[in-house]
């Protein structure tokens, strides 16, 4: 249970705390203003990102561009000069292309028919 004396000495300590002058040091104000400046997001002043820069960011920047370039060069090389192993592998996978002459010798027959009328 608090006595009257408890109230008095506590209130005195509270009063001492409240009476302390508080001056904001210049360097604290400077730090707070520097924070305000750095935290400020300028709605109009920020440079707008170009479409290229946006796409560049989406695909992952330079590391991804390097990978894409390597893949492109490899694809071009396989197209120009496919390795033998690749030909065998594709033949097994999708089969060997075969050309079939559906008309055979009949072409000459039709040609003759048209000439003879």
């Amino acid at each position: 249970m608090m006595t009257k004396s408890d109230d008095e000495f506590l209130d005195d300590i509270f009063g001492t705390a409240k009476a302390q002058p508080t001056l904001v040091p210049d360097d604290l104000m400077a730090r707070v203003m520097a924070d305000a400046q750095s935290a400020l997001v300028k709605p109009d002043g920020a440079p707008k990102q170009s479409l290229f820069a946006g796409v560049f960011d989406i695909i992952g920047g330079w590391p991804s561009v390097g990978g894409l370039a390597m893949a492109g060069v490899a694809g071009l090389w396989f197209g120009v000069s496919p390795p033998a192993a690749l030909s065998t592998w594709t033949a097994e996978l999708i089969g060997v292309p075969v050309s079939v002459d559906l008309f055979g010798d009949t072409t000459a027959y039709f040609a003759e028919t048209q000439i003879d009328g």
Partner: protein, 194 residues
């Protein structure tokens, strides 16, 4: 947009904060001039440590700058929000101090010292801050807002998001607990024992 300090004189804090969020750095200067002294005073009274109080004040203001773009004027007062942030940051700091003996802080002041009064005041403030570390955090916040900041119970209820009845209970229990803790050091703090 650049605005002179004078034109902000009657503007509410929330309006100035929105101006800052829209890119007006001068608005931040006005708001700092208006709010930082109170923020620093609250932190100093709770922590009784100038360096720590400055850190807390800077952190509280930084949080204000960051929330500025999302600030909704109709929902809260900037001052209420700041009281809450500073109280929370201070109780975080007080929690980390737990375990420091009050005896280490309340050394009797040397009566022959030229600034004996100030030394005794400092001892009392340090003892108060140390005693706050021994209170449950909500009690420490309620007591400091009521008895150090001098706020009304409804204002404290708003800041702490609790009912006025809970504020009354927290401040009463907190003050009683503070008295129990500090009573043992009354003589060291320059008060006559009963």
């Amino acid at each position: 947009m650049s605005t002179s300090t004078g034109s902000w004189a009657d503007a509410p804090d929330g309006a100035i904060l929105l101006a800052y969020a829209n890119g007006d750095v001068e608005a931040a200067r006005v708001l700092s001039g208006r709010l930082l002294p109170r923020v620093l005073a609250q932190a100093t009274r709770m922590l009784s440590d100038q360096a720590e109080a400055e850190d807390v004040a800077q952190e509280a203001m930084m949080r204000l700058w960051k929330i500025a773009p999302d600030w909704r004027q109709d929902e809260a007062q900037v001052s209420t929000w700041l009281y809450r942030v500073v109280a929370n940051l201070c109780t975080d700091r007080l929690r980390k101090r737990r375990g420091v003996s009050l005896d280490q802080i309340t050394e009797p002041a040397d009566p022959t010292a030229s600034a004996a009064g100030q030394i005794q005041d400092n001892a009392r403030l340090s003892a108060l801050s140390a005693a706050l570390t021994e209170l449950p955090e909500r009690q420490a916040q309620a007591v400091s807002l009521r008895h150090l900041e001098g706020l009304s119970n409804p204002d404290i209820a708003d800041i702490m998001n609790i009912s006025v009845r809970s504020v009354e209970s927290l401040t009463a229990r907190g003050k009683r607990a503070l008295a129990d803790i500090l009573r043992k050091h009354k003589s060291a703090l320059g008060y006559d024992d009963d």
